[in-house]
């Protein structure tokens, strides 16, 4: 009987989803919040990007429900913590070869010593145990099989996407305008692509296997959760700090302002990567000293991920804080704030009712703008060994592992390609969506000094 075992990061992610849903409810009710989102929805590109993001989110959410399952191999019971995604992708997870194999290959990438039936040791490319195990080895038969499976997958994916469209679109989007068409097409394309990939992935290694023989497609899918968590949880840390300190500094001015300004200038004076690096080193040292507290590899990796989000949050709140302070300085001189003071409202009430709601658009814009740079930063930091735990599936770890094999002839390219392209898909969608959000929430653009530069990524280049 599987039982639910929530990891800390699962809890945080679902909490964020809840916050998102609550915000959506608020936005539906309050016209000033709804209007910009309606503008976002009218953009075909933005809506298509949102669809892609939703697919990524769905993967991450499936991967964020962890169950403890007792598996029964032949010799006795064994428990394992698996996510729903793991369970769904069991064939991919368990189809582990001995080492590298190219996409759709039937045989391994490198020669191994094999004992032939005649009893002699011979060097040859061994047949894969799982990849294309079902099909005949001839080129023609394999191509036919691949085509048949893709066709079945495409049809199934199309059917699924169409039924989803038929159910969801009229209700959610109201009318069939250009944006809705774009979103529909994106969903169809995703449905077909996903269908084909999944249909093939059960029998082939569509992106090959890595050094220890595990399926690269599976890794890429598992990395989605890591990337998304870093992009969103970091915000969870940075946001309250920036919001409270920035708005308070701008509203109260004087000593509070000096203190907050000093605080964030000092913090942003320290090079971000080095702060992350130092914290990572310290965390490592701490974990080594308290090895007994981190028994499970999963829990250890999870905690390290959270710590990374925390420290990234601490390095990234300063820029948002600066923006919010500047905006609060402007807002405090607005007549409606003067009016509230004249009515005898307390500072707390003014901050809550007048300042915070009127800076939220900046918060939203920076949150979506920062998301993509954080996803990219994960890869760079992991490369420097100061990112996520090496045991965790992440794009950074995939690239890092593949990099060591770059000198090989012929090239082992599939791990890199899978990691870079799945990351590119997420970041591109996020960037397009972020653009639309910024245009909708801040039509005059750079009015608040928001720039399309990516500070976290810049430090790491």
């Amino acid at each position: 009987m599987p039982t639910l075992v929530p990891l800390w990061s699962d809890v945080c992610l679902w909490l964020l989803v809840l916050v998102g849903l609550w915000y959506a409810r608020q936005a539906r009710r309050h016209e000033p919040l709804r209007a910009p989102w309606r503008a976002v929805r009218r953009g075909p590109m933005a809506l298509a990007a949102a669809c892609v993001l939703l697919v990524y989110l769905a993967i991450a959410l499936l991967d964020s429900v962890h169950l403890e399952r007792t598996t029964r191999p032949a010799d006795g019971a064994e428990t394992a913590i698996l996510s729903v995604l793991d369970v769904l992708l069991t064939p991919l997870r368990l189809g582990v070869e001995t080492s590298y194999s190219a996409p759709f290959a039937t045989r391994a990438f490198s020669q191994e010593s094999v004992l032939t039936s005649a009893g002699r040791v011979q060097r040859e490319y061994p047949r894969l145990r799982y990849g294309a195990a079902h099909s005949a080895e001839s080129q023609g038969a394999r191509a036919r099989d691949i085509f048949q499976r893709s066709a079945t997958g495409a049809v199934a994916g199309l059917a699924l996407a169409l039924s989803a469209l038929w159910l969801a679109l009229p209700a959610a989007l109201g009318r069939t305008d250009r944006a809705a068409r774009a979103a529909g097409l994106t969903l169809l394309a995703l449905g077909v692509g996903g269908g084909v990939l999944l249909a093939l992935a059960t029998r082939y290694h569509v992106f090959g296997t890595d050094k220890v023989g595990s399926d690269v497609f599976y890794q890429a899918l598992k990395s989605v959760r890591t990337g998304l968590l870093i992009g969103t949880l970091t915000t969870l840390v940075a946001l309250p700090l920036a919001l409270v300190l920035g708005v308070a500094a701008g509203y109260f001015r004087g000593f509070t302002d000096d203190l907050v300004q000093y605080f964030y200038t000092t913090l942003s004076a320290i090079p971000g990567v080095l702060l992350v690096a130092a914290s990572a080193l310290l965390l490592d040292a701490y974990m080594t000293r308290h090895a007994e507290a981190f028994t499970s590899l999963l829990a250890r990796a999870d905690l390290r991920l959270l710590a990374l989000c925390g420290i990234l949050g601490i390095t990234s709140w300063t820029s948002l804080c600066r923006l919010l302070r500047a905006e609060a300085l402007k807002l405090r001189e607005m007549d409606f704030v003067h009016a509230a003071r004249a009515l005898g409202a307390r500072s707390g009430q003014i901050l809550r009712q007048h300042l915070v709601p009127n800076v939220m658009h900046i918060v939203i814009i920076t949150t979506v703008l920062d998301f993509s740079s954080l996803v990219l930063a994960e890869a760079a930091l992991t490369y420097l060994d100061i990112g996520v735990d090496p045991s965790m599936d992440s794009w950074g770890n995939m690239i890092n592992a593949a990099r060591l094999e770059l000198a090989r002839e012929p090239l082992v390219w599939w791990s890199l390609a899978a990691a870079l392209s799945s990351m590119f898909g997420l970041v591109l969608a996020a960037n397009i969506f972020a653009d639309a959000v910024r245009d909708a929430f801040d039509p005059r653009q750079r009015e608040f000094g928001l720039t399309p530069s990516a500070p976290t990524a810049r430090v790491c280049e």
Partner: protein, 540 residues
């Protein structure tokens, strides 16, 4: 009859994105003869500025010319290619914009900005250009042009910037000068100077001039002919004398009716039976230009210096002054929205300046404020109902939600709005309606004194009159006292019992309306009054 200098034929302009276009100029016909000044009058949104921009083909990208022709000296300028149009702008048509603060390039010297026109159109360079630049600056009354030509826009005052803009527009000796609200951003004394300047230059050069304004007083001063626009259409066009003697169109008559004018006040003074409601003594407000110890020594800007005034229950005191005179700071300091540097603010026998924050918060319900810009005075993210309840909640006066809702409904109907409006958001209302809501918000706490800071100056003339009437009615019904801050002497006679004139942070004159407006003693008051554009005509 010679051909007109400028002829606008059947101009039609639409505005907005392709799916939601609206007609903003509809079949407009206008002619201007050489040496003639046509004043185009209209309220905001009437399409008068877009007309001017159409003539030089500089409409914002959301606006599209959908029909009509514009001829300059019988030359169809809508048919010209872009480079030929560039040769007309600045050379044949000079253009003066409304906002001198932002129309000049901030990182270029004034001299270069004038000289650019000369280089571009007349090919002047070096010494020849320099001489012409200095001439152009001197012609618009900029003293010491050698030095000022080397300065940047931020070193110029508002009036000086407007002069520089006029110098740029006139530098290449255009045939036609278009001035779009050239004096709106300026104080009344500067306004008079700029209008005189425009008029003399127009006469001297024999140019045609198209002047755009919302102010009938300005039109009276400079026009040869007046054209009135309403909602994109030309409703009346007549020679000045005829127009002012008897405006023909009902809309023009409405504009006249709404016009506040300097007239003897008919309001009897309020009897001095009891102690004044508010007594301000020696009030001073200073703004530190910088704060914080490392930002250097404090350098104070003295906004108000030792000002005193008093207001009785049910009385209106008008505080008159130009922008920067300190009148707004004074109003805010009385409510202690600004820190006081010195002075006493005795309200109902209690010195507000000495009150501790908690006690002050409770006193605040008796003094409320109405702001100049109704667009900025309400939090755009709150519903009207929430805005009106804010004070009740802050002062814990309203009782339960049901009672508060009832109070909101009552307030809305008190200012002439519907109770159902409580669920709407500020952006759904027009400027005049918003100002009514702001008044309702101030009334929610049943105050004794309302500080009205230019409550009508952001509004169109016809709406201004309605708001003034509402304030008057509320005063009679509720016995309110007003401190009415304004730069518009025309409004004063209509609303005030007494007037105080403020100049550079000091109250220079105080007295009854009739004393101050018709027998001013202080030279500043006299110059202020002299600068008011006068309409020496009778309302029909």
């Amino acid at each position: 009859m010679p051909p007109p200098l400028l002829r606008i034929e059947n101009l039609c302009v639409e505005f907005g994105p392709s799916h939601a276009r609206s007609r903003v100029i509809d079949q407009l016909w206008v002619e201007i003869a050489r040496g003639e000044t046509l004043v185009l009058v209209g309220e905001s949104g009437s399409g008068k500025s877009l007309t001017a921009l159409s003539v030089v083909r500089l409409l914002p990208s959301a606006a599209h010319i959908v029909g009509g022709r514009v001829y300059l000296n019988e030359q169809d300028i809508f048919a010209l290619p872009a480079h030929a149009m560039s040769a007309i702008r600045g050379r044949r048509i000079g253009f003066v914009f409304q906002e001198p603060q932002v129309a000049l390039n901030p990182v270029m010297t004034i001299g270069d900005q004038v000289g650019e026109v000369l280089t571009c159109h007349l090919g002047l360079r070096g010494r020849a250009r320099r001489t012409r630049v200095l001439d152009a600056l001197a012609a618009v009354g900029i003293d010491n042009p050698e030095q000022r030509a080397r300065e940047y826009p931020h070193q110029f005052s508002g009036g000086m910037k407007q002069r520089a803009l006029i110098a740029i527009a006139l530098a290449a000796e255009p045939d036609l000068l278009i001035a779009d609200e050239p004096t709106t951003a300026l104080d009344v004394t500067l306004q008079a100077q700029i209008l005189t300047l425009l008029q003399t230059e127009q006469r001297r050069r024999g140019m045609g001039m198209l002047l755009i304004t919302h102010d009938l007083g300005v039109a009276w001063q400079v026009a040869d002919r007046v054209a009135v626009m309403q909602a994109g259409r030309l409703v009346e066009s007549a020679p000045r004398q005829a127009f002012y003697a008897a405006p023909a169109h009902p809309y023009s008559q409405q504009l006249f009716a709404a016009l506040p004018r300097l007239a003897a006040s008919a309001r009897p003074p309020v009897a001095a039976t009891e102690a004044p409601l508010l007594e301000v003594q020696g009030l001073s407000v200073r703004f530190p230009r910088r704060w914080g110890w490392w930002r250097g020594t404090p350098d104070n800007l003295h906004a108000v210096e030792g000002a005193s005034l008093s207001i009785r229950r049910g009385e209106t005191l008008a505080l008159v002054g130009e922008s920067g005179s300190g009148k707004t700071s004074m109003g805010r300091a009385i409510l202690r929205l600004l820190p006081l540097a010195a002075g006493r603010v005795v309200f109902q026998g209690q010195d507000l300046a000495q009150l501790a924050p908690a006690a002050l918060r409770l006193q605040r319900r008796h003094l409320q404020m109405v702001f100049q810009d109704p667009y900025a005075a309400m939090n755009p993210r709150l519903q009207i109902g929430e805005i009106l309840q804010e004070g009740l909640i802050a002062q814990q006066l309203g009782g339960g939600p049901a009672e508060r809702a009832a109070r909101v409904a009552a307030l809305l109907s008190q200012v002439g709005l519907l109770p159902a409006h409580a669920l709407r958001y500020p952006h759904e209302f027009s400027g005049g309606q918003r100002q009514r809501i702001c008044i309702a918000r101030a009334l929610a706490l049943a105050p004794a004194l309302l500080v009205c800071d230019e409550p009508t100056s952001a509004l169109d003339v016809s709406v201004q009159a309605q708001i003034l009437a509402l304030l008057e009615e509320l005063q009679q019904r509720l016995g309110l006292a007003y401190l009415f801050i304004t730069h518009n002497l025309g409004v004063v006679a209509r609303v005030a019992h007494r007037v105080a004139v403020m100049h550079r942070g000091v109250i220079v004159e105080e007295g009854t309306v009739n004393q101050v407006l018709f027998a001013p003693r202080h030279p500043y008051t006299q110059s202020l009054l002299a600068a008011v554009p006068r309409l020496d005509v009778r309302t029909p």
